[in-house]
Point group: C2
Chain length 223, copies 2
Amino acid sequence: MTRLNRERVLRAAVALADESGIESLSMRRLAQELGVVPMALYKHVANKEQLLDGMVDTVVGEIDPPEPGSDWRGVVRQRILSARRVLLRHRWAYGVIESRTGPTSAVLEYLDSMIGVFRDGGLSVDLTHHVMHAMGSRLLGFSQELFEASGASGGSGGAEPPDPALAQRYPRIAELAAAAAHDGDSVVGGGCDDQFEFEFALDLLLDGFERLRAEGWSPPGRG
Amino acid sequence: MTRLNRERVLRAAVALADESGIESLSMRRLAQELGVVPMALYKHVANKEQLLDGMVDTVVGEIDPPEPGSDWRGVVRQRILSARRVLLRHRWAYGVIESRTGPTSAVLEYLDSMIGVFRDGGLSVDLTHHVMHAMGSRLLGFSQELFEASGASGGSGGAEPPDPALAQRYPRIAELAAAAAHDGDSVVGGGCDDQFEFEFALDLLLDGFERLRAEGWSPPGRG
DNA sequence: ACCTGAACACCGTTCAAGT
DNA sequence: ACCTGAACACCGTTCAAGT
């Protein structure tokens, strides 16, 4: 039973969230996992918020650094897809990062380096600024879909057969779902190729940015 | 003291979340607000999850219907900006909608009608499908920014003066923040014109979709 | 049919005490 | 310096009882 320290606490918290979901991560449960009384944790993290901050830094630190390349779009693309792979390994990270009131230092470092790629690619400070906002959480590989995933027909969740009553109430959704039914059925989400959808939107945005850069975009007048 | 019913429960819940924030919305607190014992609520909503579903439907029902116009982009734009105004009145709705495992019926209705606008605008079923994914939660007016808002310098939150040590650690962020400092200072978020950023990204996406439509985009081969 | 009371199994966190 | 025990003020929800 080695001594507790901040790193052991954070690693155990990440492992617990990975295995049992973020909703199972309580100070009490984490302490139990570490064979310690709940209050022992408070010597190493100030409170639960700071624990979550530390978990975010741990995860964001797993993202590959940018691999320099000729095309700024390629560099951005590769790094965001790396972030996406990391975040898919830690599915709880999505909600936790969004719930932070401010960015942690690892996130700031990540954003700073991403800005550098855009700037080095020739985007102006102003354009880069709006680009960073437009990318939003997609910079970290988040899909920004309306719902986390999977079966959505009636509410009971899971993969149900397509409901003809729902198809009548929502005919446009049904048409899309029918066309998208590569594997499985879905309203919006399940049965779709998440990776394809992610890259479709990502490339659309990057191409749009590149077009604006090439056109010499500048902000609308301030008066 | 009139009889309790589902609608009164939902309206009180929305009002409580609007005023005190979603974190204050507990079954016990809501019951207290209604002058009733906690268990009385369970006759009108099955549990807290269903209460949240009902609140989402209430809010999504406030979005204006689409105003038919000549240009599909204009119709989509106007309706999404209406959704955004609604969601800004109920800031808790963002997190609650994203936390639902499946869409509520009001959301399905909204999505169905949005799909109709794209299809009537001449987008193919396949393109509309990917467009819906690419829009994601932006369809409901969400910004999809990395952090909810405001001061982000070091972690203590609030509007601090720009920290020279941080500027040295994150020089690219500092450069952007300096350029963006219309009113107030910010790392990414505070001091920026949220409405401008939202419309910038929205229009970039809509223009991209229109370009693909005009080019007769079709999905890549399946083999 | 609707509301109540007491209870169960949880939370995060403070405070005073131990070693 | 680090860990513990007991307590406080909360949760959502079940179950049996009241009217």
